[in-house]
Each structure stands twice: as structure tokens, then as C-alpha cells.
Amino acid sequence: MSAVAVFAPIVIASWPALGAAVASAATSLGFSLADQAFDSANQNQNTETTQRVDLEIPGSEVVLGTLGRDQRIRLVRDGVEATFARDARGRASVCVTGEGYSEEVLRQIGEELSGRMVQHYVLQKLKSELDARGMNLVEETVDENQAIRLRVRHWQN
């Protein structure tokens, strides 16, 4: 072994790339995709008993492309609804609501979802970029802590 390096992810991507990561993360956590909303009018109705938590995904930037400014992705699971969107500052954010859930629980769910989304985004990006550079993915596993391990070989002359 020559070196060990640790990196903090920076997510700068267009909405379709992030959408793919959100969908992948949702599946891994048992969430289902609800409809994708294209206008801001399609939002959750807050009642007095529905808690709401808004979380910004650190180190993220959603690049505007040809898609609508207000596009969102809604996920649902066990009465919890999580909506990923691009906020006014261009960052990816997630809003988690759920009737009968405490703010703390919703925050934990939101943090787990957003973390998993970043994980899947990094995974997709690494796989595609390393393949483009002629590197071979030899093994891909998920460990007991839900970390994804890749073993990559690079032959050089």
C-alpha cells in the first residue's frame, strides 16, 4: 500500500444526475417515488399535527439545465414524505414531513436520506469516470454499516 486518502464529497450536478441518485437512495432505504412536480403549487399541506423539517445538503450545487426551475422529487414511506428540490441559493435541499412524527425523528430520516443520496451520487460518478479512464471495477460490495466498497484495477504500460 502506498497511501490512504480521505475526501469530503462536493456535489455539483444537474438535476437529472441528482434525480438518479435520489431514486437510487430512495430504493435502498425503502422509500417509493411519488410524482415529480414541475411547479411550486404542488406542495404538501401542513396541518397542525404535521411536523416539518427542512435540511440543506452541504457541499451541493444544482446546476440549472433545460429543466424547470421548480422541479422536485417526492418520496414516501410509512406516512413520511420527503421532497428533494433546489433551493433559492442553488443548493439541493430536502423537506421531510410526517403526521405523528417528532421533529427529531424527521430530522434523522432527512439526514439519512440526504447522506445516502450523496453516497449514491458519488458512486455513480466514480464508476462512470473511472470506467472512462480505462480502469476495471473488480468488486463492489456493501458492508454492515451500509458503506459501499469498490475494488478497482488499473493496468498501465
Binding site: 500500500m1 497511501a3 490512504v4 475494488r151 504500460n157
Partner: protein, 66 residues
């Protein structure tokens, strides 16, 4: 032909740990730079003993003059 092997661990929050094997000397710094451009900010780099060995493309010639 040389083979380089990388073991990449992507944590549940997206943090990446990269283990580089098969590269002697400072060549691994290029790999770290590559992953920095792909993933994000470098938080930490730990060099192993192989890092301090001569680079693969360095030729050491010993000559003795009498």
C-alpha cells in the same frame, strides 16, 4: 505492465476513503489529485512506507571508481 489497485470505500454520508496500492514514491499523489477532482475536498492523506521508496521510474546506478 504495472497494475495499480485502488480500494474505495464510500461511507453512508458520501465520504470517500481511498487506499492506493502498487505505486511506489510520489506517483500516488497524482492519484490523490485525480480523486480530488472527481469527489471533492481532500480531508486527510496518510502515506505508508512504500510512499518513501524511490519512484517506479527512477533508476539508481552505482558506480565504483578506483
Amino acid at each position: 505492465m504495472n497494475v495499480r489497485e485502488y480500494e474505495i470505500t464510500i461511507g453512508p454520508t458520501g465520504e470517500v476513503e481511498l487506499h492506493i496500492d502498487g505505486i511506489k514514491g510520489k506517483g500516488c499523489l497524482e492519484v490523490v489529485k485525480l480523486f480530488e477532482s472527481l469527489v471533492g475536498e481532500v480531508r486527510e492523506v496518510r502515506h505508508t512506507s512504500a510512499f518513501y521508496e524511490p519512484d517506479d521510474d527512477v533508476v539508481i546506478r552505482n558506480e565504483q571508481h578506483h
